[in-house]
Symmetry: C2
Subunit: 220 residues, 2 copies
DNA sequence: GAATGTGAAGGTTTTCACAGCA
DNA sequence: TGCTGTGAAAACCTTCACATTC
């Protein structure tokens, strides 16, 4: 594998996003028995242009063969390596409420190597009890237990009001990647990567679209 | 209110997204007692540039006063009108599983005018039973019941395998705005707006960031 | 012939910088 | 003076087009 030139030239946010899509398509193609795939075919499946696909992939290396296309299995593995989905990740979930519980039960996470191995809550009635085979720890021990368990990714699923203080503890625990479901903008240290799942904002986008009659491509 | 020049000039996807942020900040500012706010202040709260804020807002009209800034309450209402959050929306949720249940219980939706008033599932054990005060209907009646209830927005929270057929029924029911939690790309008619909540993709983005040591601003 | 990889062109979004107004 | 609104510039992202390779 050639070194990934991240840092030399900035990767576009959208490229990473599309990489996730390519990965899924490649998994499907492999199942369907494809040995190779062209940028045209790959593009078609995600409603993109072939040039876009080639640009995205070529950013990380030369994975294809001129005249032939890309070897499906190999490319799948290379994309997976780039995304970091060729390994498992130790994930902690903070806030075992409505949303939190749903996320623990979300099979796709573990199927893709994101293993939720620690649960935290601040509710005394929940602390110490088991949820889907995992004991719920006291959120006050976040920093220590996160370190002990070697957590790499944290999911914040607590009410907005307490999200920032949870965030701070997580950061103290040395976690560098966070998925935030609370609908507030969180302050994070410079070396932490945070992604937000602001579900109401998506609904707002939809209501905007309805009010302004935005459709089709403009929507996404 | 001046007419929104949507359609004359394309609104940037990112502008809509930031509009949601502005709206939240404005609500907060109003609570904090601010009467006016400058683009600088507004920008600071969302880690944007003042120019960005002004460009975004000026796209929809002239809401500020030179030398003074923007009137908080008024701007809040104007932004709300643009987003369509100054009204209530009739929402249906399809798939009352893990994720679906969590979404029904998600108070922020209703607080913002997105009222989930219909639930659908294909599980005979669930159909006819009540969930948080709402009866669960048979997914086979989607088209008819959606029309009857005047549903404007649908949330898809079913397993990926059946998402497309659910989608098709929803479209037949005349719904033009869809929030999709299934992790597949859905085919939609040209006049339908679909937004995807691909949660695993966000985790993939995080693992990408960890593997490639992407941090801070590059992340979002 | 077929399809990649890529510099250059084209398009879109963000930032700059300043005219114009309270 | 302070801050908006906005053309122009810069940065960024996507598409084109073709040389290159199998």
């Amino acid at each position: 594998m050639c070194p990934i030139p991240v840092g030399i030239k900035r990767v576009a946010e959208s490229t990473i996003h599309r990489l996730s899509h390519y990965w899924r398509v490649l998994i499907a193609l492999e199942k369907e028995g494809y040995k190779t795939v062209s940028s045209r075919e790959l593009a078609q499946r995600e409603k993109l242009t072939p040039a876009q696909v080639r640009k995205d992939l070529s950013f990380f290396g030369s994975f294809g063969t001129r005249g032939l296309g890309y070897p499906v299995t190999q490319l799948k593995e290379q994309v997976s390596a780039i995304l970091g989905t060729n390994q498992t990740w130790r994930v902690a979930l903070v806030g075992v409420g409505n949303m939190g519980s749903a996320l623990v039960g979300y099979k796709e996470f573990s199927r893709q190597g994101f293993n939720i191995i620690k649960l935290f809550d601040n509710d005394q009635r929940k602390i110490g009890s088991f949820h889907k085979g995992l004991i719920i720890s006291d959120v006050r021990n976040l920093e220590v237990e996160i370190k002990q368990a070697g957590i790499e990714i944290a999911i914040i699923a607590v009410p907005s009001a307490v999200a920032q203080q949870v965030m701070d503890e997580i950061a103290k625990g040395g976690v560098k990647a966070i998925l935030n479901f609370a609908s507030v903008k969180l302050k994070v240290p410079g070396d932490v990567c945070i992604r937000n799942e602001h579900m109401s904002m998506e609904l707002e986008h939809l209501s905007f679209a309805l009010v302004n009659k935005i459709t089709g491509k403009q929507c996404e």
